[in-house]
C-alpha cells in the first residue's frame, strides 16, 4: 500500500515537473484563407494543389506544405513569426503570383491569396434523371493572349462521398468530353451514369462537380461540390 503511494506520489511529481522540461511552445497561430479570383474561391482537387511557407531563422530551412482544400480554402497551424510564401512553378490551374510574398504572423491570421485562373466554370447546373446525373455549364477563358492555354477536356465527376475529383477512386464515376468534341464552351452538357454496386449500401444522394483540364497544366479547376438528392 505504502509502495503504491510512493509510486503515485513520485509518478505524479514527475508528470508535473516534466512539463517544465518541455520548453517549446506549441504552434500558436492558425493561418487561414482562400485562393481567390474576382472575390470567389477557386475550387480544386483535394490535397493536390499546394504552396509552401518558409520560416527563416531556425536552422535548416524546410518548407511547410500547405494543401488547398477542395473548396479553395486553406488553413495551417504554425508558429508566430516571419514567413515567406511561394507557389511552386506549375502548381494549380491558375497563374499564381510569381513574386514571393513576405508576411508576419502573430496570433491567428486570415489572408486571401489572389490568383488568375486560366478558366472559370460558370452556371453549373446538376440534375438527376433515371439513374444518371446530368450537368451543364459554361467555361470562360480568363487568361487570353500569349499566355493562354487551351481546354483539354471537361469532366463530370460523381462520387458517393464528399470528396470528389477526377482521382477520387472507385467510389464514383466520371464522364469526359474531349476538347475536339466541344463545339461551344459556353454551353456544355454531359451526363454520367450512377454506378450500381451491390456491395455498397444504397443512398439517395450523390456528390457531383465539373472539372476542366487545361492543356499542359496538371491540376484541374472545378466547380464547388454539389450534393444531389434523389
Amino acid at each position: 500500500m505504502k509502495a503504491k503511494f510512493y509510486v503515485l506520489l513520485f509518478g505524479g511529481l514527475l508528470l508535473i515537473t516534466s512539463c517544465e522540461l518541455d520548453n517549446y511552445n506549441e504552434p500558436d497561430a492558425i493561418l487561414t484563407g482562400n485562393i481567390l479570383y474576382d472575390g470567389e474561391a477557386i475550387p480544386v482537387a483535394r490535397n493536390q494543389v499546394r504552396f509552401e511557407l518558409w520560416q527563416s531563422g531556425y536552422g535548416s530551412p524546410a518548407p511547410i506544405d500547405v494543401a488547398i482544400a477542395q473548396d479553395g480554402s486553406y488553413s495551417s497551424r504554425i508558429f508566430s513569426g516571419d514567413y515567406k510564401l511561394a507557389f511552386l512553378p506549375g502548381e494549380g490551374p491558375f497563374r499564381a503570383p510569381t513574386d514571393t510574398l513576405y508576411f508576419s504572423v502573430s496570433g491567428d491570421k486570415e489572408m486571401n491569396l489572389t490568383v488568375t485562373p486560366y478558366y472559370t466554370i460558370q452556371n453549373a447546373q446538376f440534375s438527376h434523371a433515371a439513374g444518371s446525373i446530368d450537368a451543364s455549364c459554361s467555361v470562360n477563358q480568363i487568361i487570353s493572349g500569349a499566355d493562354s492555354r487551351a481546354v483539354e477536356r471537361v469532366t463530370l465527376v460523381i462520387n458517393r462521398t464528399l470528396f470528389v475529383d477526377a482521382n477520387s477512386g472507385s467510389e464514383g464515376s466520371i464522364a469526359q468530353i474531349d476538347a475536339e468534341d466541344i463545339s461551344d464552351l459556353n454551353n456544355i452538357s454531359m451526363s454520367v451514369e450512377i454506378p450500381s454496386d451491390p456491395t455498397k449500401p444504397d443512398q439517395n444522394y450523390i456528390f457531383a462537380r465539373i472539372g476542366v483540364k487545361i492543356e499542359g497544366v496538371e491540376d484541374m479547376i472545378y466547380t464547388q461540390v454539389e450534393k444531389i438528392t434523389f
Binding site: 530551412p61 524546410a62 506549375g90
Partner: protein, 629 residues
C-alpha cells in the same frame, strides 16, 4: 640494503633498455587491416576491392527484392502486408530516388589509387581501371534515369577544415550532359575491356556497348517525347533534352547496338537451345551454361555465400518448399497482351455474346499464343518443378451460382451429390488469401527449377540479367524505327518474335510506335525496364492516370501504348458442374477485380524525376529542384 640494490638494478635496466630503435620495434604491421600499398600491389586484393564496387551496383528491379520486379500494376502482389500498394492512389515525389555519392567517391578513390599502383602489371591495371570507370558510368546512368542531371564528380574531393565548404558544392549538370558522359565513357572503354562473350559478371566490351545503346536510346526518346510534356523540364536543362538532339542519340544507339549484333563484341546471340519455345524462353533466365544471350549479369552461387530468395517468394504455393510463395501474380492485362501466333491481338475468349465459353482442359484458353506467355507466366494447368499447379477458383453450378471455399483445396458437398469434393484449387485463387494465385497466375520468369531453390536454407543462384541480347535487338529496332528505317527495325523485331513462335513476320509498314512499346512490354517484363520505358516515352502519366479501370474497358485496346495500367485485373478458372449437361466437367473463365484493389494509381508530373531531398538542397544550395514538386 638488498632491496635497494634490486631497485637500482631495475632502474638501470629500464634506463638502458630505452634506445632509439624502440619506435621501430613497437611499430608492428596490423594483422587485421590491409594498407593501401598492400592492396594495390596484388591483383587479387585489388580485384576484391573492385568486387565490392561491383556488389554495390544499383538495380531498379532486382531478384533480391521480388517486389521491385513487378511494379506498376503489371502484377498483383499476393502478400497480406502489401495490399495497400493497390489501395493508394500514387507515389510520393521522393520515391525511387538515389543519391549515393559515397559510392562515386569510392570509385574515384579506387581509380586514383589503382592508377598510382606500381606493382600491378599494366594489363591488370588497365582492365581494373576500365571496369571501375564502367561502374561509375553505370551509376551515373542510374542517377540520370531517376533524378535527371546531377553533379558530375570525377575525382575524390577532400574537405580542408577551413569552415567554408562551398568549394565542394557543385551544381547539377544538364540531363543531356550526363547521358553524354555515359555514352562517351562507353566509347572510350569499349576497346579497353576484353571482348569475351563468356565473361558475364564482369565488364566486357559487350556490356559497355549494351549500356551505350540503352543510354543513347533513353536520351533520344527523352529528347523526342519530352516535347509532349514541356512542363517536365527545367530552364537550365537539368531536366529535359532539346528535341533537336534526338536523331543524334538514336544514331548512336543504333550504332552501338549494331556493333553487338555484328559480333564485334563477341559471340552473342539469342538463346535457342531448347525445342519447346516457352521452356526455351524461361531457360534464358536460369541456364547459366554457355548462355549466348546474357551480356552482363549479377551472378549468385549456392554454397558460395551469395544467394537470393526470389523463387522462395514466388514459387507456386501448392507443393512449395516452404510455407509461402506465390507473391507475384501477373495481371490479366499483361497475360492477354501476348499475341496469337499469327501476330494478332485478342482478349482471352471467356465469353461470347454474354454466354460463357466452355473449355475441355483448363489451359485451353491460353492455347495458340506467343510462346513467351507460358515462359513468363505460370498458367493454370501448367507445371513448375514437375508439379502441376492447382489454380481454379470454384465450381459453377447449372444456374450460374458458384460454390467455392475460403481455404486452399477446401472440400464441400455439391447439390445433388453425396460426399465431399474439392471445390477450390490448392493454389487458390481465393480473394484476399495471400500466397494464392489471386489473379489466376504466378510468375515463371526468374523462378529457379533447381531443387532447394525455394528453401530458405538453400535459396537460389539464378542470375539477374542486366543486359541481354534480345534487349539489344529491341533497342536497335526502336532506334532504327525512330530514324525512319522501318525495314531494319522490322528485321530486328522479327528475330525476337520468331524465337517466341510468332509465325507471321512484321513488314516495314507494320512497325509502329505501339508495336515497339508492345514488344518491349512482353519481352522485357519483370526485368526492371518497364518503368524507364514509361518515363522516357512520357507515357507514365497517361497509362497511370488515376482513373479506375472498368470491366468492359479491361479487354479493349490490347497492344495500344496508351492503355490504362492503373489497376491489375484477374481472370479465374471455374469447373462447370451440371450432371447431364454436355458441358459438365468443363472449364469456364470469369474476369474480376479483386476486392483489395480499391485504389487507382496516378503518376503525377512531379513523379517523372524523383525529388532531391531538402537536406541535400540545404547542404548544397546550388542544386535546383526537379520540376512540378
Amino acid at each position: 640494503m638488498k632491496k635497494h640494490i634490486f631497485l637500482l638494478v631495475i632502474i638501470a635496466l629500464v634506463a638502458w633498455s630505452c634506445s632509439k630503435t624502440d619506435e621501430e620495434f613497437l611499430d608492428r604491421p596490423s594483422t587485421s587491416i590491409l594498407t593501401q600499398e598492400q592492396i594495390f600491389s596484388d591483383p587479387k586484393t585489388t580485384l576484391s576491392v573492385l568486387a565490392d564496387l561491383y556488389n554495390r551496383y544499383y538495380d531498379f528491379g532486382t531478384v533480391e527484392d521480388w517486389s521491385t520486379m513487378a511494379r506498376f500494376n503489371i502484377a498483383y502482389w499476393s502478400e497480406a502486408g502489401r495490399y495497400p500498394v493497390f489501395q493508394n492512389n500514387g507515389w510520393g515525389y521522393g520515391e525511387w530516388s538515389t543519391w549515393d555519392y559515397t559510392y562515386i567517391r569510392e570509385i574515384n578513390l579506387f581509380l586514383e589509387r589503382c592508377a598510382e599502383a606500381t606493382e600491378l602489371t599494366d594489363e591488370d591495371k588497365t582492365r581494373f581501371l576500365a571496369e571501375a570507370r564502367f561502374l561509375r558510368a553505370s551509376y551515373y546512368f542510374e542517377l540520370v534515369k531517376r533524378m535527371g542531371g546531377v553533379p558530375l564528380i570525377l575525382e575524390s574531393e577532400t574537405y580542408d577544415f577551413s569552415g567554408d565548404a562551398s568549394y565542394l558544392q557543385h551544381p547539377r549538370e544538364t540531363e543531356a550532359a550526363i547521358y553524354d558522359f555515359v555514352i562517351s565513357e562507353a566509347e572510350a572503354l569499349k576497346d579497353i575491356l576484353p571482348t569475351d562473350a563468356n565473361t558475364k559478371s564482369r565488364a566486357t566490351k559487350g556490356a559497355v556497348l549494351a549500356m551505350q545503346a540503352r543510354a543513347a536510346l533513353y536520351a533520344g526518346s527523352i529528347a523526342k517525347y519530352g516535347a509532349t510534356t514541356p512542363q517536365v523540364s527545367l530552364p537550365g536543362g537539368e531536366v529535359g533534352i532539346p528535341a533537336s538532339m534526338a536523331d543524334g542519340y538514336y544514331t548512336k544507339a543504333l550504332q552501338a547496338a549494331q556493333s553487338i549484333i555484328n559480333g564485334e563484341a563477341g559471340a552473342y546471340a539469342l538463346y535457342t537451345k531448347k525445342p519447346d519455345l516457352s521452356e526455351n524462353f524461361s531457360s534464358i533466365f536460369y541456364d547459366k551454361a554457355n548462355n549466348p544471350e546474357a551480356i552482363f549479369v549479377e551472378d549468385y552461387q549456392v554454397g558460395g555465400g551469395k544467394t537470393h530468395y526470389f523463387t522462395g517468394a514466388n514459387q507456386p504455393r501448392f507443393g512449395a518448399e516452404e510455407e509461402e510463395g506465390g507473391r507475384i501474380n501477373p495481371s490479366l492485362q499483361f497475360v492477354q497482351s501476348f499475341e496469337l501466333t499469327d501476330g494478332s491481338y485478342a482478349p482471352l475468349a471467356n465469353e461470347s455474346g454474354g454466354e460463357p465459353i466452355y473449355y475441355d482442359n483448363i489451359g485451353d484458353i491460353f492455347e495458340g499464343r506467343d510462346a513467351r506467355l507460358a515462359g513468363t507466366v505460370i498458367l493454370p494447368g501448367s507445371s513448375f518443378k514437375s508439379t502441376e499447379v492447382d489454380i481454379w477458383a470454384g465450381v459453377v453450378l447449372g444456374d450460374g451460382s458458384v460454390v467455392s471455399g475460403d481455404s486452399r483445396g477446401q472440400e464441400k458437398e455439391l447439390p445433388g451429390s453425396t460426399g465431399q469434393v474439392q471445390v477450390v484449387g490448392f493454389d487458390g485463387p481465393i480473394d484476399g488469401l495471400e500466397f494464392t494465385a489471386q489473379t489466376g497466375f504466378y510468375i515463371r520468369k526468374y523462378q529457379d527449377p533447381a531443387t532447394g531453390s525455394g528453401r530458405r536454407g538453400t535459396q537460389s543462384d539464378v542470375w539477374f540479367i542486366r543486359y541481354r541480347y534480345a534487349e539489344v535487338l529491341l533497342n536497335a529496332a526502336e532506334a532504327a524505327f525512330e530514324l525512319g528505317q522501318s525495314e531494319v527495325a522490322a528485321g530486328y523485331l522479327n528475330q525476337v518474335r520468331a524465337r517466341a513462335g510468332i509465325t507471321v513476320p512484321l513488314t516495314a509498314a507494320d512497325v509502329t510506335f505501339d508495336r515497339i512499346v508492345h514488344e518491349r512490354y512482353v519481352e522485357l517484363a519483370f526485368e526492371g525496364l518497364h518503368f524507364f520505358d514509361l518515363k522516357r516515352w512520357r507515357l507514365a502519366h497517361v497509362v497511370l492516370d488515376g482513373n479506375p479501370i472498368s470491366e468492359s474497358e479491361v479487354t479493349q485496346n490490347i497492344g495500344v501504348a496508351t492503355k490504362r495500367e492503373t489497376q491489375p485485373y484477374s481472370i479465374w478458372p471455374y469447373k462447370y458442374y451440371n450432371p447431364g449437361d454436355p458441358n459438365d466437367g468443363k472449364w469456364l473463365y470469369r474476369i474480376l477485380r479483386l476486392s483489395r484493389v480499391t485504389g487507382a494509381d496516378r503518376f503525377q508530373m512531379g513523379n517523372y524525376y524523383s525529388e532531391i531531398g531538402q537536406n541535400l538542397i540545404n547542404n548544397n544550395p546550388l542544386l535546383v529542384r526537379n520540376p512540378n514538386q
